[in-house]
Symmetry: C2
Subunit: 120 residues, 2 copies
DNA sequence: ACATCGTTTCGTATTTTTCCGAAATTTCAA
DNA sequence: TTGAAATTTCGGAAAAATACGAAACGATGT
């Protein structure tokens, strides 16, 4: 049973009341991605993405799946209506559509290729 | 046309990612109240309520209606789906149900009586 | 074992938020 | 016009959030 107390809901809202974290959430609505892919698509330092994901995970929006040295993140399944609404709103942001348009290219390259071009 | 850009949505989420502001929002889902009634029901200093309402107004959640020296606040009509979902989630908080149970008594007294017992 | 790559944690300077009493403001009423 | 009541604004100290490079960590391949 998901917690819906004031404290919990405020934590969820705080997690998402942040430009980068909201963009990450919207991006993941398009499907699972590896952390390095998120950093590449968003053009943001990996440590910032990692911290954003930590908060989203704490609040229960996303889950991770480790595979070797990669960490794949995706939306946590079956959420409360509020979380669903937040995720949907994030996915519909114009800025996220913009971000999302860069995903196919990044996916096409494959994870290793993407991550190796991180630091030029 | 309501703005749905990243910046705006983040402002809306920040406005509501706060215990007192979320409680106020949920309380107003039960109908219009005067500022002094909100302060009385929530047992919180009037200046805190005023500041909470300022943020909620900035973000477009509530509107005010001045009547003499009283200010009545209520939910802004016809919102974006996200705002609707946030308001609904606030209204369904257990803590807000608790708050709401104190409304009839306060309403019964009438605005002047309520506000005059603010500072004993 | 070593170097490397993806990721997380840490350090931390900077900014933002929070909270509430005091003071200011506005409105009504005597 | 004076006083009182409802609300807002102000002050400012304390707590929290932000951002990102540097360092640490863990897994892989040679």
């Amino acid at each position: 049973m998901p917690d819906r107390s004031l404290k919990t809901v405020v934590e969820q809202l705080k997690a998402v009341a942040h430009p980068l974290r909201l963009r990450v959430l919207g991006l993941l609505a398009g499907g699972e991605l590896c952390v390095c892919q998120v950093a590449e698509v968003l053009q943001v330092p990996a440590s910032s993405v990692s911290e954003a994901l930590r908060e989203l995970r704490r609040a229960g929006f996303v889950v991770e799946r480790k595979e070797g040295r990669w960490v794949h993140v995706s939306l946590a399944p079956s959420q409360t209506p509020l979380v669903e609404a937040l995720t949907l709103a994030a996915a519909e942001l114009p800025e996220v559509a913009e971000d999302r348009s860069r995903v196919p290219a990044v996916r096409g390259l494959g994870v290793p290729a993407v991550c190796q071009k991180q630091q030029p």
